[in-house]
Every structure is written in structure tokens, then in C-alpha cells.
Amino acid sequence: MPEISHYQVKTLTIDGKEVCASEHQTILEVARENNIDIPTLCYFNGLNGVGACRLCLVEVKGNNKLLPACVTQAQEGMEVTAHSPQLHEYRKLIIELLLTERSHVCAVCVSSGHCELQSLAQKLGVNHVTLPYLHEQCKADGSHRHFVADHNRCVLCTRCMRVCDEIEGAHTWDITGRGIRSRMITDMGEPWGDSETCTNCGKCVSVCPVGALVEKGKAVAEMTKPNFLPYLIQMRGKGQ
């Protein structure tokens, strides 16, 4: 007797729309397959999700907590709300918090016009910042021959850390500290230019959603990110 496949198709609703999910698919993946746009910042297709930015938080009926869509697996019978006035306000607040925590000055940023934080702010209608700016001064690291790490513009999405670990296998980037004192570091906190593990591949620069990791010498608005996704997915597939 042939073995019965355990592969199951799950049915659920997102914003009232009936959708199907295969096993291990996250709510975010299912939503995007069905053209339901849930904003994200830390998520990068091809890298493991971490739910760091909290922009993709959704409501699931029967659950009294908001859940990050990027790391929550779709379940049979789930009733997901991805868009509501309340969620919209939360997402705007997250963007405001990010904008006030460090120094995001689009006017003089190399990534202006190509920045995911900037475009999310525009898309969500964050046209004013109502919270006080912290004006925390972080040191920009220009020690690398080709790249600059400007921690003033970092949103701690950890894409750099994940791509360096999961794809390049170097694990040059990591995170130190906790909470508001968290910082991305290279190796054990040495200047990037002194890192013994960095292969100078530039993958971290390619996936950085903002102007934190950029090519040296780029002037305002000149830093465009290559379309790294197809390569990443291909590499990911080979690895698996």
C-alpha cells in the first residue's frame, strides 16, 4: 500500500480573503503570494526570518497578541487581519521610533531615493515625527577599503548579519548590547577594515535596507542596491 503523503494544504483567510498555504509557509509568504501587501523591513526573501522590525505584525483571531507574519506559520482555519486602522497606526509608530532613535537625515543620505525606511515612511504616511529625537551619536566606521558602516543610519534589521552567516558563511557581522544599546559589530568589535573574517564580498551592503552599509565614495542619493534577490535565492537553493 503506497504511503500517504503528509503534505497538506491549509486554508485560511487574510483580510477576509480565502487563501491556501502549503506546509511551513509563513503568513507573510502566503499574503505576498496572494498580492496582499504587508510592510516589512527586516525580512529579506532568501534569509531566515527573525521578526525584528515588527512592521509585519498581524492580528489572528483567537490570539490576544499581535504576531509577526514573517515568522508565524500559516495554520488551518486561521483568520488573519493584516490591515486595520489600529495596525496602520502601530506601523506608523514603529517607523517614527526608528526615525527618532538614530540620525536618519534623508536630505544628505547616500541612499535617499533608494531606501526602504524612507519609502515605507512615505507609503505609510509618516509625514511628521511627533516623538522627540534622541540624537544619539554613533561612530561611522570608514576603515574598510570599499565600504562604510554608518551606525547612525542602522535600523538593526540584522540582514547583514544573516546574509554574512547564512549565505557567505563568514559570520563577520554580529550584534552586541541589548535594547537601545544594541549595535552591529564586525568580528569581536574591531573596525571593519581590520576584520579577519570579512571576505569583502559586499553582500551585507547589497541587502542593507537603508544607508547604513554603503559603498565608499557614493555621494547623496547615489547608493543604489543591486537586485541581489535572484542570486540569493539561487544560492540558498543550492545550499539546501
Binding site: G142, G217, A219, V220
Partner: protein, 480 residues
Amino acid sequence: MQTIRIDGITRIEGHGRITIQLDDHGVVEDAHLHVLQFRGFEKLCEGRPFYEMPSITARICGICPVSHLLAGAKACDAIMGLRIPEAAEMLRRIVHLAQITQSHALSFFHLSSPDFLMGWDSDPRERNLLGLVDKHPDLALSGIRLRKWGQQVIDLVGGRRIHNPWIVQGGVASPLTMAKRDEILSGIPDALAIALRTLIFFKHMMEKLGEETEVFGNFRSMFMAIGREDGNLCLYGSRRRHEGWLRFADADGNIVADNIHPRDYQEYIGEAVDSASYMKAPYYKPLGYPAGMYRVGPAARLNMCRQCGTPHADKALNEFRHMYGNISLSSFHNHYARLIEIIFAIERMEQILEMPIILTDDVRAEAKANEAEGVGIIEAPRGTLIHHYKVDGDGMMTGANLIVATAHNTLAMNHGLKQVAENYISGHEVTEGMLNRMEGLIRSFDPCLSCATHADGTMDLIVDVVDSEGQLQQRLARRR
């Protein structure tokens, strides 16, 4: 003793206050310009990559961001230790000349001409651009058109009118297309016609402005500008052609210091700190402070050049010199000099745009930081602009010193204020028209106080006359 305060000065770029000190007999003892606000760009840029500086410092000003972009880019070029491609240099010159045109047009038509045309003592509610549009529509609209055209050229060449990120370290971000070149060229005859027409108009008007010429900053002082070997008017200062070295002249036009390399500027220029103002007071070091007072700007530049180097501008300069002598000591002549420079800028733009090299693609050179310091100097509309950057081994900024054109004129503006005050205010009851003349003196320098420090504020005018006991004797108030 009485103190008169003009707070703040109207129709200038920025926010400032004038204090006039009178003795018990109402005779002027001293007059002083205070710049009231502080922005601190020199400090906030520390730790940034040096090549971000042009765009950061451009935010100092919305009127002349091109000047800061160019001075910043030149300082970056010096840090990289390279010579930018010739086409890039020519393109930078085009936007610079366009900026001279639009900025001078703003100063002459929008800010200063209401004084000449509406009268110094006219109703302040009409003594502005809108009043001008009402009473002298042709001239007012000419001014608006000329300024608009200058802005359009900046837009066409660099893709944006204000805070244009196209000017970058090592050159410019993109080349000029033939279509845009031709569009700019097609606007030149009209722009030149406006400038020449205005010059004729102002030449006649100057006959009625003899008193202002006599007392508006008419004194002996040194002058400073960047120069060229052939002695012609130098606005950009090409590293490629070894132009743009600093030059000082005395009040008789004799060159007293020449060929000062930008990196050596601090050997000749000291910066005194005035406790009553956020604007520093630069002085010529060999003479000390305050004897080393010098002036920069359009009239200073024309005093120090042999010729402009273009036909109409040279003709206008010769006429000017024929009427007022080779060396103009009156700051009121800055207005005339601005018109001559506008003519020069338009003609020079045409000359450059007709060079085949202007359409070539090689517009950017690349290098890392190869020098620990770099100085970029340019003649901004208001005078010599100096950007001095210091970097660490990674090219990150460790320090900056900016001497903005308006600041060079600090001592001269104070000197001129006293002269005007002595002439109009001593022993008289203070009227609004008298105070407007004080402001007019400041306007003749076209100061950009936002550049010189930083400014943001209302442009209301309140004048208090206070006696030695601190009692308010007279208050004149003007609200926008």
C-alpha cells in the same frame, strides 16, 4: 547715552540686529551688526565621510547652495589630491555662473531695488517686491525672469534647483546632454537683454543716488578676491589652470599679497570672535585686528581685476571705472557691480557652452582620501567662500573651518553702519526712513547671515531708543 536697536533687519538673507549707540547729545558713538543665531555646521560634520560634506554644507543656505557645493567639492578634490576632468570643471562653472546670476538678481531686484525705486522714506508696507510689481512692473518682472532663468539653468545642468546633489567630489555626477545645452543657449539672448537693459536703467538711477554712494560704506579698506594670472575676473578658480589663488589689495588697488595657495589661507586670514555676535570677524593677519579690515564681494572683485573677459561686461566695467574711478571705495557700488557680474556670467556661460568639451562624458574622477587636509575656495555671489576640511586616515572628517563670504565683510559692515548712522541719525529724531538707510547699507553687502552663522526667524523690525537710564524713549515697530 541712548541705544537704538534695529531688530531684525529686513530684506536680507538671515536674521540680524543693528545696535546704534548715541551719546547724551544724540551723536553716534558706535554702530554694530549682531548676528543672533547659531547653527554649528563645523561641529556636526565631524565623523562624517569627507565626500558627504558638499551636500551637508549646501544645507547652510537655500539661496547659494551651489557655492557651498562647489567650495565643498573643491575641498574634497584637494583631499583626494586629484585634478578633475575638464568637462566637469566647465559644467561646475556653468552652474556657478547661473547661481551668480540668480543670486545677484535676487539681491538687486527683490531685496534692494525697492529702496531706490520706492524711496528710502516711503511706506514700508509698499517698499518691497510686491510694491515694486505694482509701481514698476516691467523692472520687477524682469528681475523675477532673470532669477528664474538662473535657477532653470542650475536645474537643467544638475537636475535640481536647490541643494543639487549633482556636484560631487571629483567632478559632477552626470554629463550634459546636447538638448539641455541648446535649451540653455536659447535663453541667453533674453537674459542678456534684461541685464543690459537694467544696467542702463541703474546707470541713470545712480545719478540720483549720489548721497548714498557718498555715505554707504565709503571708506578706505583692503580688498580680497581670488585671482587669475591674466588678471581677469575670476569666480571659480580652476585647479587645472592654477587659478583661484587668494589675492589682497590695498585701498589704492595695489596688490599687497598675491598667489596665496588656498591651503595657506590661515597665514593671511585671522578670525576674531565678537562676543556680541555669532558671526566671526576675519581680518588680514599681517595688519592685525581690527586694522586688517578688508572687503569681499562684487565691488571688491571688480576693484581687483584688470578686465572681466567678455565684451559687454568689459564695456560696462570700463564705463563704471570712467564714472567712479578704477577703485571703488563705496560699498553702495556693490549694486552696480552685481549688474556687471550678471552680464559677465551670462556671456561667459555662452562662451563655455559653445566649447565642444562641454558635451563629453568624462566628468568624474575617483580617488580615496590621499591628503589629510583640503581647502576649497570659490567666489560666491557675496564674496570669497572658504571650506577647509581635515580628515583621518579613513577619510572621516575630524574638523572643518568654513569662512563664508558675509563673514569677511563683518568689520566693513560695522564700519559702514557707523558712517551711515553718523550721517543720518546724529542729533536728529529717529525716523523709520533713517533706519531703513542703515538696513540699506547692510543690504548693499547682500549679507547672507544664514550662511555666516545660521538663521531662522521673523523679519519684524522693532527699534527701541533707550536712554542711559534704560528708559524707553521711543519705539518704532514694523510688522510684516
